[in-house]
Symmetry: C2
Subunit: 408 residues, 2 copies
């Protein structure tokens, strides 16, 4: 991308009511634009980051046999009434709206009810199971407060996966597969080491659910971890009874704040029972389908990664997530000609700062925008037949021969 | 994709209230699932079709310098009140909803107001112009009736592009570029020959707008075209005055029904004036930005293409749009082994019907799903070292040598 051709500019200030670091930096660096608290637009750079995150999640889910769909935001109340979840007392974050032809609709905050209902058209026999269906979909949640930038959205992008099984054993096995896939996803996104699978409260059908919590000062959750981090618990289940159940009593636990970026849940019959999702087994008798659900907050992840790696100069994306790999600057006539040459054919991996501004301003924006590698070509570097390559994270520079750079 | 591994099945029947051919066929063939009138889910095959259509549009728009963003569905009333369009009298298809923290929000039926407002943060000088910004975004329109399958949605996918200029001449030039890009898009989608750029009513600032209308029996619009189809008009402007203005008086016009798949509009100051989108020109004086807007109904396009090419056996996608290029069937032990070999490494272009059902059922589903080429491998074809390749549209079959097929 040529910087001179994009409408996006880096901004000196973010909106006055933006207090979260991710919101301030992503706005100033030109990734997002705030419509209102908890509602953001994604600008070209931000959309590329979202797509990179989606791409990694999609690859890992497809590799374990999941199929992608796209369900609607508008929700018919009927299936939600069967589970009791259309009630504002039960689910307090609904956006509801009136249909012109009569009746009330909801904007989906999640999709258990519609997907369970939809699959009644496709599941009839044990031969149709297991199934794993996911989507990247915009969710709506009518939060009373939303002050954490894109960490907590009223409108946000989520990946939600639902699995369908004939037995608890099969559900357990797939659940373990998703745990491993999530591990690979968060590792590829650069936050694997600081992300813990955390025990959280279950529900009617399960003792525990699991959350994936990334250690983060501004995280809204409090988690407890033992010395070797083999047992990590959300505050809500940090009780003597649970510690005993997990055989962790007497161990020393430390507390930290964290952001929940994913959660997985053995639903079992929670939705399939009230919604009547059944199948005929090998013995020709009718059975209820076992279900699991598995979420990842995609736009929240973008915010978590932004917060996690930011420093006083700006953002610093992991290579796998960054909108571009290189931030290219040419200085002087020769440097600019060499930059143009490097840029050609690399439009998709290079953010080429061809603006008529001072190099110092370009360098500052390179740091603010947080592209992993800065490439500078100038008389000085060309005298050595080289470019200066600077690592955003370490700040270290090296001279790299033009020929080597071209193959990089 | 292996047919045995997908949750989707072809269905004998569509929902009883589904009367549109596109809705019936797309449901029966497993592309979509109806949530309610005008609201559909996109299943794996349907999502692939949508993505193919988006890919072609994206390529052509990027080639004329457009930048992709993603704006929010939830709308703050403020900018819409400035243009008078938050009023239900003015715009009668709003879905509105209440924010928990107070106030009313709308679900965007289009995005002129928010994008004009957003760009006030990024446009200050003539040097910032022109700009072309687009998105693929889910729109919401509270239609009283929605009985045309995915041709008219209450929730639907749209591509909306907005352009920003310093002069009417620059707007006119870009408008002409978009006209040509739309021509290329519809040609690549296989409907170029039946799609006409049609004069339609303008507005305060323009005499005419243009629609792109695809001839279709169930289309909701009526258009008039002269003998050489050089002048095509929407019924709303088919008047003696307009014919005179277009120097087409006295010519013979025929009538047909058509579906509007795109529209382009010179907005000029319609939104920039009330919303205050200004810039400083070369002479340091403040000017109002000229705007244009350019829509394509992406999910509607899917419905139009489905309707247009369907026959009594089912769907028949153009190659550029089809979810897969080949529908693969292996018959007998050897045929199945050869099919498995062909499938390997072609997972992304082959829908491999590996189900344990009769070949006749597979052939019928191949036609219903409408994949461009059917490949059959059997003892009979293998005796000739060949496969049978059948064209979905012509129904013609040819034997093609395995070696040639592998390179195809």
């Amino acid at each position: 991308m040529r910087f001179s051709k994009t409408f996006v500019k880096t901004l000196r200030t973010a909106p006055k009511d933006e207090t979260a670091k991710n919101g301030i930096l992503l706005t100033r660096a030109g990734y997002i634009h705030k419509e209102m608290a908890g509602v953001y637009d994604y600008l070209p750079l931000g959309l590329r980051v979202l797509e990179n995150i989606k791409g990694i999640i999609r690859e890992e889910l497809n590799s374990i046999g999941c199929e992608e769909v796209l369900m609607s935001a508008l929700q018919n109340p009927e299936p939600w009434e069967k589970t009791g979840r259309f009630s504002d007392q039960e689910v307090d974050i609904w956006f509801k709206t009136a249909l012109a032809s009569g009746g009330e609709l909801g904007l989906a905050p999640t999709h258990e009810e519609p997907i369970t209902t939809m699959l009644k058209s496709y599941i009839s026999s044990y031969k149709d199971l297991p199934l794993y269906v996911y989507q990247f979909q915009t969710k709506f949640r009518n939060e009373l407060r939303a002050k954490s930038g894109i960490l907590r959205g009223r409108e946000f992008l989520m990946k939600d996966l639902y699995s369908f099984h004939t037995s608890e054993k099969d559900l357990d096995e797939f659940y373990a597969k998703v745990e491993r896939a999530y591990g690979r996803i968060f590792a590829r996104l650069g936050i694997g080491e600081d992300t813990y699978e955390t025990f959280a409260s279950g529900g009617i059908f399960s003792k525990y659910s699991h959350e994936f919590q990334t250690v983060l000062p501004v995280g809204e959750d409090t988690i407890y971890y033992n010395t070797d981090k083999s047992v990590v618990l959300n505050k809500e289940v940090y009780t003597p009874e649970v510690l005993a159940d997990l055989k962790a009593e007497g161990q020393k636990f430390d507390e930290t704040t964290a952001a929940e970026i994913g959660n997985i849940f053995k639903l079992k019959f929670k939705y399939s029972e009230p919604l009547g999702l059944k199948y005929i087994d090998e013995n020709n008798s009718q059975q209820t389908v076992y279900m699991g659900c598995y979420g990842i907050g995609v736009s929240r992840l973008m915010g978590v990664i932004a917060e996690k790696f930011a420093d006083d100069k700006g953002l610093s994306w992991p290579e796998t997530v960054a909108p571009y790999r290189y931030y290219l600057v040419g200085i002087g006539e020769k440097g600019t000609a060499a930059a143009e040459e490097f840029y050609r054919g690399r439009e998709d991996e290079v953010l080429y700062d061809d603006r008529s501004v001072r190099p110092g301003e370009k360098f500052a924006d390179a740091e603010l925008i947080g592209i992993p590698y800065r490439v500078v070509l100038s008389d000085k570097t060309l005298a050595e037949d080289a470019a200066e390559l600077t690592d955003r994270r370490t700040g270290e520079s090296q001279m790299i021969k033009i020929a080597d750079l071209m193959q990089y």
